[in-house]
Amino acid sequence: MWSILLNSNTQWVLLSTAILGIAAGTIGSLAYWKRQSLMSDALAHAALPGVIIAFLLFKVKHLFVLITGAAISAVIGAFFIQGIRSSTRIKEDTAMGMILSIFYGFGIMLLTIANRTSGNQSGLNNFILGQSASMVQSDVWTMSILAILVVSIVVIGFKEWKIYLFDRQFASGLGLPLKGMDVVYTILLVTTIVVGIQAVGVILIAALLIIPAVSARYWTHSFQTMVIISALFGGASGTIGTLISAIGNGWPTGPFIVVLAASFFIISLIFGKEKGILVQYWQMKHHKKQEIIQSIPTSVLKKEVQ
């Protein structure tokens, strides 16, 4: 086990999945308040055909090429969802469900073709459930730089993002370019998704965006703290999940990352100081006690009358 940890490639991969988790936790908090958690899942699935098409076209497995394809495909998916929602009577959740499954199905179809035609067994299967062990140095760099960029953009414009999420109408009155911010938000979301698909996989990357944010909600009443906690949960899930996968030698990374994120969620749900189950139970019990104490004199009085 320790020999794996001492391997410098493993260390780099761990660092990059930590940064990825931080980026996902940050953007996930934005998505949570934009009420678009499910959108990230749809976009992640929609990214798959792009990965395969990019591979079929350029015959290289360079991460930057593949995630560019993934990003284009995800954005096309987003346009379809937007188009269906605004020009038909179909609601957004249905549109997302349709696009998610159609793009994913199409991606799997292309993947089968790619695996048959290219003899080298491409390793494209890793993009479905994630395989951080397959990452090389250049992949690590691509992923880390993009993820850091995403986090920086959120941090620099933090107060603008806050009002953008809380009160769009007022933000517009202040002169914030809402349409532009919508575009930047989508770019950030898509970037986070596509840089994460090699390590976490298209099926599960959305979990890394959604779960840390909801877990963080149980610990704070401040948006800033929520984003920080969410980033920490995301980073921890990414690192520990990758570590377990590395020890297992060939185990898919995505599922472990998600299981870890889910454990953080369960801990938050139970022990969280803001409306966690235990805290609520104690508050309720305390309240009940107070009520009983206050009501004793009257009940005693009633008995005496009878």
Binding site: W33, I156, F166, F170, S172, G173
Partner: protein
């Protein structure tokens, strides 16, 4: 007559295929406090949103201080309906008020102590000093409305638009808000308020704009706030209780 600060010409706006506002024309003079009244679906909120470029204009023009909305944005304050935001958002009252200062603070900059003090003073003015650090989800409806008003106050705009600030608030909040509106008026600011309570229109506003898809009547309250105009606007019958306007039946005009 005072300087005209807002001029709306032949304004038309629609949702999908339904025209909500047709050929709206009016002028508002500086320092006036106008109540916008009309039945549900008359387009009161849409009128405000259209003037503030939050809703697309089909045709017509809106001029603020003889110029366009875009150029005069900084001089315009807006208090949206309380229900238009998610009060579960994790932030405190002081932070929401601070949002009114974002324009002054400058983009991508952090607020300073001075800004915090300004925001706190505005909250204090609304009688909300004790709640500055309170989570907004824990505030009552009336308190949330006061926070919204405080946020508009720190903007220090010259013309304010308020969408139903008195809807669903308690008597104390209603008094507090009306006191502020009177102060704004005294300071020479122009205020337009969407209002739903016909009983109080005459007491609260010096001008009334009757709206039902278009301007039915607009002018000084003393001149235009008559039973006839109310009946025309609401398209129904009104009953008088003790010489005051009591119950109004208002079917929505199609």
């Amino acid at each position: 007559m005072n300087e005209v600060v807002l001029e709306v010409k032949n304004l038309t706006a629609a949702y999908q295929k339904n025209t909500v506002l047709r050929d709206v024309n009016f002028q508002v003079e500086a320092g006036s406090l106008t109540g916008i009244v009309g039945p549900n679906g008359a387009g009161k909120s849409t009128l405000i949103k259209t003037m503030l470029a939050l809703h697309p204009v089909l045709s017509g023009e809106v001029h603020f201080f003889g110029s366009t909305y875009k150029k005069m944005k900084k001089r315009i304050g807006y208090v949206p309906q309380r229900g238009s935001v998610d009060w579960d958002f994790p932030t405190i009252a002081l932070d929401v008020v601070m949002m009114g200062l974002y324009g002054q603070i400058g983009w991508l900059r952090r607020p300073t102590k001075t800004h915090q003090r300004m925001a706190f003073e505005a909250l204090d003015k609304m009688g909300m000093a004790d709640y500055a650090n309170r989570q907004i989800s824990q505030l009552s409806g009336g308190q949330q409305q006061r926070v919204f008003l405080a946020r508009a106050l720190v903007q220090n705009a010259d013309i304010y638009f308020m969408d139903e600030p008195l809807a669903g608030v308690d008597a104390a909040t209603e008094r507090a808000i009306m006191k502020i509106l009177d102060e704004l008026k005294a300071a020479g600011k122009t205020v337009m308020v969407v209002h739903h309570d016909l009983q109080t229109v005459a007491d609260y506003f010096d001008h009334v704009l009757f709206l039902n898809r278009t301007v039915i009547k607009h002018g000084k309250t003393n001149d235009v706030y008559t039973e006839d105009n109310i009946a025309t606007t609401y398209g129904g019958s009104i009953r008088l209780i003790g010489g005051r306007i009591g119950n109004v039946v208002h079917p929505v005009k199609q």
